[in-house]
Subunit: 226 residues, 2 copies
C-alpha cells in the first residue's frame, strides 16, 4: 500500500506539471487570439448533451452577422466537423487519438490552419466528458457548459468542478424535460449555488426555443473587438 | 516543441505503468471474488445514461432471487448509494475525490467492508464517463455499458474504445427514442460492427420495458456459482 501511495504522489506531481505546461501554452494561444481580434469559446458537456447541435444552430443563426470558425475535438471520426461545415463555418477536426479532453497544445495545432484575423468568433467544441475537460485552459474567453434535461437534474452536485469552472451554462433539450422527469429549476438553482456568476440559458436546440438570449450574449461578446 | 514531445513520452510511460499496476490489483480482486463465489459486473456510461436507475430496478427485481451488494463510484455526494440502499441492497459509496474513473485499488478498498461470501452479485457503478472508465480492469466478470437514446445514435463511432471493451450493451430510455430522434437500430448495428460479441438489450428503466432479458442474463451469470 505504501508503494501505491508514492506512485500516486508521482502521478499527482506529473499532473500538476502537465497543467502548468498547459497553462503556458494557453497563455500563448490567448495572446494569439487577442492579436487577431478573435473571441473564443470552449464548449463542454457530456456525450450527447447537444454540443454539436448548439454549434450548428449558432453558426446558421449568426453567420451573416459574424465570421465563425470551429475546432471540433473528438476521439474518433470527423462527423462533427462535417456537420458544422455544412452549417456554413470553417471547421477543423482535431482527433485526440484516445485522449479524453482537449489541451492547449492541441488547440495551438488546430489553429495553425485557421486565418484568425479573418474571423470574429472561434468556437472550440471539446470531447464529450463532464470531468476531464474542466481543468484545462485552452486560452478561451469563456467556457460554455452544455447539459441536457434527459441527463437528470442531479448533475451540478455530482460533477461540481465543471460547473464551478464554467462561465455560461446552457440547459438543452427543454422539449424533453417533462418526458424525462427533469426539474430544470433544480439544475439552475444547484448550478448557481456552486457558481453564482454563471450565465444560464434554457434552450432547445431542436425547436430553437430560448436561443435568442444566447445569440445576443455571443453578439455582445464579439462586438467590442470588431 | 521538442520538450513537449518528451514530456508526452514520459506521461504515456507513466500511464502504461499505472495500467499495469491496476491490472495487478484487478487480478487480486478477481481471485477474492472467485474465492467468495460472487459474480461482479462493472457498469459504465455517460453522466445521466441511467446507470443508477438500472441498478435500482435490478436490485428491486432480483433481491428475492439473489443477494446483491453495490459499490457506487462518484466524484462527489453519496446520493446514488442512498438510492440503491433504499432499493434494498447493501451499498458502499466510493468517492473518487475528483478522479474520472474507478480503478482496481479503489474497488479493493470499497470491498473491505462487504462480506463477499454472503453475496451472489456485486454491482460496481462507475463514474459517469464514456472515455476514461474503458481501459481499467476492476476484476469484474463483465463490463456493462449503458447508453441512452437522448445521447444520440452516433456514440459507437465517436467513443469506440468503450464499445470494444464491453461485454453487454444496454440501450436505455427507449421511451424517449422517438422524441429524441434517435435511431436505436443504428446504435445496435454500429456497436456490433465494433464488437460482434456484445450482448445487447434495449430497455426503458422508467417503464421497465425490455428488462426481463437483462434479469435472465444476470440470473444465468450468477447461477453456476450458487
Amino acid at each position: 500500500m505504501k508503494r501505491s501511495g508514492s506512485r500516486r504522489r508521482i502521478v499527482i506531481k506529473i499532473a500538476r506539471r502537465m497543467l502548468q505546461a498547459n497553462d503556458d501554452v494557453a497563455a500563448t494561444n490567448r495572446r494569439a487570439f487577442a492579436a487577431a481580434g478573435v473571441r473564443v469559446i470552449n464548449i463542454l458537456g457530456s456525450p450527447g448533451a447537444g454540443k454539436t447541435a448548439l454549434v450548428e444552430r449558432t453558426v446558421r443563426a449568426l453567420r451573416r452577422r459574424m465570421k465563425i470558425a470551429v475546432v471540433e475535438g473528438d476521439i474518433a471520426t470527423s462527423r462533427d466537423a462535417e456537420r458544422v461545415a455544412a452549417a456554413g463555418a470553417m471547421a477543423v477536426q482535431m482527433n485526440t487519438a484516445g485522449a479524453c479532453h482537449l489541451n492547449a497544445g492541441m488547440v495551438a495545432q488546430a489553429i495553425e490552419g485557421i486565418p484568425l484575423k479573418k474571423h470574429d468568433l472561434l468556437i472550440i467544441e471539446n470531447v464529450g466528458n463532464l470531468v476531464c475537460t474542466a481543468p484545462f485552459d485552452l486560452g478561451e474567453d469563456a467556457k460554455v457548459l452544455v447539459v441536457s434535461t434527459p441527463e437528470g437534474d442531479d448533475k451540478p452536485a455530482k460533477y461540481p468542478a465543471i460547473f464551478r469552472n464554467s462561465n455560461v451554462l446552457i440547459i438543452n433539450k427543454l422539449d424533453l424535460a417533462k418526458a424525462a422527469g427533469c426539474d430544470v429549476r433544480r439544475i439552475r438553482r444547484e448550478a448557481l449555488e456552486l457558481n453564482p456568476r454563471l450565465i444560464v440559458f434554457e434552450v432547445s436546440c431542436r425547436t430553437g426555443r430560448g436561443l435568442d438570449g444566447w445569440y445576443d450574449w455571443l453578439t455582445k461578446l464579439v462586438a467590442p473587438r470588431r
